[in-house]
Each structure stands twice: as C-alpha cells, then as structure tokens.
C-alpha cells in the first residue's frame, strides 16, 4: 500500500526478524503474524518500545479456521437438464449434536487475534498467532502485558477452548454454569446441545436435549469475482437515466 505502511512493515521485520510475518494491510490496519513461541516477547516489545508504543489492547478473540474457504453449493457440471446443484457438507448451522462433523486434522486451526492501539502514534495493529496443537490449543496469556486481555481471554477460552497459559483466573464467562463444550467452534451445532426449562411437576429447572431442527435457509457459496466494484458497466447503465445518478456511482 502506501509508503508509510511499507516502512512500518520494514520496521517490524528489522526489529523482530523471523519471529513475525507481516500480513496484509486493510483500511490502515496492518496485521502481524507472530509465532506462538515469540508471542509474549514480541507483545512486550510492542507495548514498551518507543517505535511501537501500543498502550492498549482493545480487542482479543479466538478464531476457529475449520472449514475455511469451503462452499456448500458448488456447480460441477451443466447438462441440458440443468446444473448440478445441491447442498453438500455440514456447514455452519446444518447439523445437530449427534451429527456434528468430525474435525479434520487442520493445521493452524485455532488462532488468537488481538487488536492494539497506539495512542501516541494514532495507529492500530492486528496481531495474531496460532495455537500449535489443535487438540489442546495453548497460547501464552497477555494479561501481564495488557490487563484488558483478562476477560477477552476468558471469553476465547469459553467459546473456543483455547487455554491461556499464565492467566490468573481462567473461568468460563459467557456460557451457563456447568456448560460442556465450546460453542463457537465450527463443529459445535448452532442449535446447541441442551435446552433449559422449568418443569412445573418436578418444581425445578431441567436440562433436556434440544428439539429444534437445524435449519439454514441460504447455502454458503464462494464467488471470487471483482464485480462488486462499481464498474463501468454499471455507470454506463446509470448515466442516461439521470445525470444525478453518476454522483453515487463514481466511487471507484
């Protein structure tokens, strides 16, 4: 992108060497992939060194990369009878607890993504690392460096089962007391597992398996084209109708 982002990228590379990979810059926020073994050391430098000065961790969350880039609705062949169509694969929301898909061996399944702000440089930065073992993902905790990571890490632990080593108080935070499973993992059903209701006969709250059917109305499709840009074709269609409309279209 711009010169400044290039020079910032060079700064990261010259300071941290192989322990970081500079990723894409989107809307002025650069992303930085950090090896999990250098996670703490790099973060400490990002906070303390004058060149970086990221004083605040604004956001931290987990990401489950299972099923990334998979489409449920692919056209493989076309014949005189029509296109081959039909939903295959168990995409998000399409399965219940019993049919939940076996997680494939995905390398780099669980990622931890954090967003930092440097108030003095007025800059944001996205840092991310991947947990080495997807069976028992463990990532060092950032609570010591930025205290605000505390609840965010609890949330990522609760929803994704990522264990933050060195966290002072790693408890579940959003789910129910005694909840099992990690609901935001891609192999956890959208409809959930158990439902709670008050049983007037037993005079207490009972847990039962959910009864609702999994239902998804729109299949997940992937289309890699660039037609979403306001292109000349659109402008040409608009232009004769009224001269005003060109204003809205001149975005690109």
């Amino acid at each position: 992108m711009s010169d400044t982002s290039k020079s910032v990228a060079e700064l990261f590379v010259s300071r941290f060497g192989d322990s970081v990979t500079v990723g894409a810059t989107q809307s002025g926020i650069m992303s930085l992939d950090i090896g999990v073994e250098h996670w703490l050391e790099v973060c400490r430098a990002l906070r303390d060194e004058e060149d970086f000065g990221y004083e605040q961790l604004t956001d931290l969350c987990g990401v489950d990369y299972l099923g990334y880039g998979q489409s449920e609705w692919e056209t493989e062949h076309a014949s005189s009878g029509g296109f081959s169509r039909g939903v295959d694969r168990l995409g998000p929301g399409r399965f219940d607890w019993a049919d939940r898909p076996e997680a494939d061996q995905v390398e780099q399944r669980f990622g931890v993504v954090a967003h930092l702000i440097s108030f003095r440089h007025n800059k944001r930065l996205r840092i991310q690392c991947f947990a080495p073992d997807e069976g028992m993902p463990i990532v060092p905790s950032l609570v010591e460096i930025w205290n605000s990571a505390n609840w965010y890490e609890r949330e990522a632990f609760d929803l994704f089962g990522i264990v933050f080593e060195g966290h002072p108080d790693l408890r579940r935070i959003l789910t129910d007391y005694g909840f099992t499973g990690h609901p935001f993992r891609k192999d956890f059903p959208l409809i959930g597992n158990v439902a709670v209701r008050y049983d007037s006969l037993k005079k207490r709250v009972v847990y039962e398996p959910v009864e609702i059917e999994p239902r998804v109305l729109v299949p997940r499709v992937l289309r890699s084209d660039t037609r979403y840009k306001t292109d000349e074709v659109d402008l040409a269609v608009e232009a004769p109708a009224s001269p005003e409309q060109a204003d809205s279209g001149e975005a690109n």
Binding site: S27, T58, F119, W151, I173, T175, L190, V221, Y228, D234
Partner: protein
Amino acid sequence: MSEIRNYTMNFGPQHPAAHGVLRLILELDGETIVRADPHIGLLHRATEKLAESKPYNQTVGYLDRLDYMSMMCNEHAYVRAIEQLLGIELPPRAQYIRTMFDELTRFSNHLLWIASCGLDLGAMSMFMYAFREREMVMDMYEAVSGARMHAGYYRPGGVYRDLPEEMPLYKETPWTRGKDLKRRNEWREGSLLDFVEAFAKDVPSKIDVYETLLTDNRIWKQRTVNIGVVSPERALQMGFSGVMLRGSGIEWDLRKKQPYAMYDQVDFDIPVGVNGDCYDRYLVRVEEMRQSARIILQCVDWLRKNPGHVMLKNFKIAPPNREEMKDDMEALIHHFKLFTEGYCVPVGETYAAVEAPKGEFGCYLVSDGANKPFRIHFRAPGFAHLSGMDEMTQGHMLADAVAIISTLDLVFGEVDR
C-alpha cells in the same frame, strides 16, 4: 473470640440497579467492598455465531439488539466493516444521514444514561425529563425506519431510504386535544429535517434543565465526586474507551482521531475530564450531548441543501427499487440474487470501529470469500468496562457500587452479545 470473616453477597441478576442482568458476587468487609466478581452471560445469544450462518445483510437486525440503547451506532460499525472489505464508497448524503443519526443515537443513549443513573442515585425526576426528550428521538427513528428502536436502517452501501418529507402527527384523543395537541404537533408540521432541527435547537435549553437539577446538587455530588476514580494509566491498561477514557483526562475520540462518515466535515469539541471520577464522567456526558446537538444542526443544514442518493447505485450490493424491478429484467435478476443468496465479500479481514456512545464499538470481520462471514467478532465497549469493575469498586462502600455500575453505562445486550 470468634473468627471474623468477610461477608459474600449476591447482587442481581434481578436488581433495579444492575442495569439488566448483571450478577455480581460481592465480598464485603462490613460495608466496604473487598472484591467484586461480575458474572455475565445471562443475555448471551451467540450473535457472532448466528451471523456465521446468515448472509451479510440479514445480520443487520441482530446488531440493533446488541447495545439496544444505541442501535444505529452498532449497525454503523458492522456495515462499515463490510464496506471496507467490498471496497465501496458511499454517496455523501448517506454519510451525512449516518452522521446525523449517530449523533441522535448518542443523544438518546446519554439521555437514558442520565435518566437511569439519576434513578439509581435517588434523583427520580431525571427519569421523567430525560424520557420526554428521548421519545422525540424514538419518533425520528420511527419516521425514518418504521421501528422505534431496532431500526435496521444502515445497510452496506448507504442507508435504507431517504429522509421522509413529512412527520406523522399526533391524532386527537380524549386526553390530547386542543392546545395540548397543538403543542405536541408544533414541530411536526414539516419534514423530518424540520423536526430534527427544531429539536436540536431546543436541546441546549433542556440540558440546562438537567444541569440545574444535578450539576450543583449536593446529594448528587456526594454520591459521585471521588467515587470510582480511574487514573489515565489504568484506564489504558484496562482497555477503557469512550467516556470512560475521556473522563480520566485522555483526549481520545475516534470521531476526531480516526474520522469516519462525515465527522471530519463537521465542527465539534471533545470534552475531557480531570479527575476520572463518576462526577467527571457525568460532566463529560452532558457536554457530549451539547456537542451532539451542534453536529446534528450542521448535518441538517447540509442535508437540506444537497439532495441525492442515499444508497449506492450498484445492484450487486444494494437492491434496485420496486419501480426499476418492474420494467428491467436485469434489476429483477439482481433483486432475486441479492435476496436469495446475498453478495460475496472478497477474502480478507478487517476491523472497523466507531465511537459509539459507550465507547469504541468495533467489528472484526474475517471473510473467506463467501456470502456469509467466516468469523465476526464485536468489540463491545461495555465488556471491557465491566472487566475493570473489580478494580474500580475496591475499597468503596456498597452503595457506591451502584454509582460505579451506573457510570460504566452498561447494557447487557452488548456485554454478553
């Protein structure tokens, strides 16, 4: 001699001062708080997971229900994230409408805050006054979107429709008639913009009324001055944003520092506190309401002079209108595609933040090129603020916990998501 132990008390989840469904486990030494452990998640609806199973546009409605006191600001963060990945730019009129409604939202959020904070600390009449004004903002929401609260008005590519040319009027009822009816309809004779202008011009006088009631009120000051003091360093460490940060003396406002929509075109000031206590945060919020009114008037002025489109004229993202659909086959196809499948967002990840009334509301979006988000995470300001609750309450009296919860300006829709 018997052993003296700390007393553990359960506060909430159903308590009028808990602002929703906060359960707080308080460890008390006499009446002094030793430790506060907030238990949240009672309103957790897995919005982020639901969003993964729907096309992008269908999630806009869920965003209103996150922070259900500042609906349009949440939508703004979400649509901005999508727009960034799509690489589209909006018509300026849409940007001005968004700026205006963001500020109206900020105003109504702070009204609700001042109302409920007053109620918590014993200033009951505040509630009545603030809700009187808030009702007007609700009417504006309704006029523009059809819904009083959960508007769903911002869409990727602009806003759903242009501002209406006329405001609905109150009808005569046995309780409202004659002079009363005339007074209620006084501002509503013209268009929505006339109504907004009359309202925004009147706002400073209404804020003066609130300030007369509270600012120098002895009881109000006793309950808020030096309560819940946060130093600037700690505010940064604990991830505070918005008023919680500005109250502690850090001049940081995304509208100024990283401007979005049309905030770089309007003139306004950022109020900053000094001591970082509850009273300073109150003063900052009151001043923000005045500044909002200023911004709203500037937007009204611009919107009057510049008619135009409010939605991108790109049928790949924004639907064509009904008329076009009736006589253009392309438009019909686009409409069908948009509402059955939606649009695919290019591969990438982005983070879009807006200065919501409560602080920085951010949306982290990962797209793998599908018509549904791969992962979406909402950065709710209240979540970070509540995590600082333990530190803020330590050493305070039990009654002060109420004041502190109140100035955090929590809404559990966004804390629990």
